[in-house]
Subunit: 247 residues, 2 copies
Amino acid sequence: MQNIYDNKKFFNEYIEMRDKEINANNLIEKPIFKSLIPYFKDKKVLDIGCGFGDLCRLAVEDGARKVVGVDISKNMLEKAKEINSDSKITYLNKPMEKLNEINEKFDFVLSSLAFHYVEDFSKLIKDIKNLLVPGGYLIFSQEHPVETAFMPPQNKNIDKKIDIEGKRYYLLSDYNNIGKRSVRWNVDGVIKYHRNFSVIINSLAENGFFIEKLIDSYADEEAIKLEPKYKYQNDRPYFLFIKAKLL
Amino acid sequence: MQNIYDNKKFFNEYIEMRDKEINANNLIEKPIFKSLIPYFKDKKVLDIGCGFGDLCRLAVEDGARKVVGVDISKNMLEKAKEINSDSKITYLNKPMEKLNEINEKFDFVLSSLAFHYVEDFSKLIKDIKNLLVPGGYLIFSQEHPVETAFMPPQNKNIDKKIDIEGKRYYLLSDYNNIGKRSVRWNVDGVIKYHRNFSVIINSLAENGFFIEKLIDSYADEEAIKLEPKYKYQNDRPYFLFIKAKLL
């Protein structure tokens, strides 16, 4: 897995974006993610791709007895230890591909906007299954399949989206073309992986996960008031959220 | 629910389309639907929106002990009785909104390309739950959410799809705008209902359905050989298939 968050230029621009209060993470992703989180009292929580550790701290504040945050980026974890340190939180520097090295069980596995960086989704879900107690929950968000579908063509005249009279078109010709996407985000060559709904849902099903809730993201009135451009996010999907219970 | 199949002009054009061997039903939908169907030996099967009764006959040939086919259209059922008659098949003239009038339980509920005509999806799934034995299966196909999302605008300059250099763009501005779509298909004013993945998956979850398999449709090599235009269907979704088990 690419460790883009330890790329200095990328990380600086990422920090700058996250420091703004008005961004898609704060206004759209976080409120929906929080709506899916139950009461953590006395529970053990694993956060995959924990970044700055915001979710780890939230879990502790909500009564979790132990939280483990995993991230591939040393930069991210340094910042996490600085701003979200707690005796109940352990931060592990580890890529998502090596979750099988963790030898304990959790009641909840959380992951916010990280899974689209993993190439082998089926293995990831299998590893998570092995980290959960029976009846445990996986709650995650990722970029929505209609967002990740775009495959930058050789021909640079093809755009990801076309806006015509306030209406937005998406290029979906590569929706069923599963795999790597090299995109520009702060820097060139950020590697993400596109999956259609088939791959996502079937990987969960095959590993015994019951999908309790799925949300195609939207922006609420509050978000649109703060950032008018999010009116686009109100009527088309941007992130995907799934809450699934291990049977 | 609109009974468009009893509209004479619509029905005649529909028959003409279905009589062609090369169409999306035969080349794309049927093979995938059949791949989801298990062994029906001694099982009771309900087919919702059975149309010509092709699936009903298939179920009987596959060993089902009783099959009930339901359809809103008398035209469709007349044709079904003509070409797919069997002592084990009962055809009922009934809209999908009145499934609660059926007082028996089934091992399998099937439905091919009919659910996008129903306004209240949550009620439909609840009714189906009441018609299934525990451990029974619901297997259905419908138009894919990225296909049904399009909402014809007042401004006629806006198209559903834009093709640029062999790439296809979809208008997704109304993806999260759930509800009625009045579209032209053989005749003007055919009423369908758009739902996003949230609505579809959550209705199943709330009624205790475990999703075993979900398929975003594709066209295989064989289909593309017979109908080159289906190369579009090979890389973007067209139908959606779900196989779900009642826990």
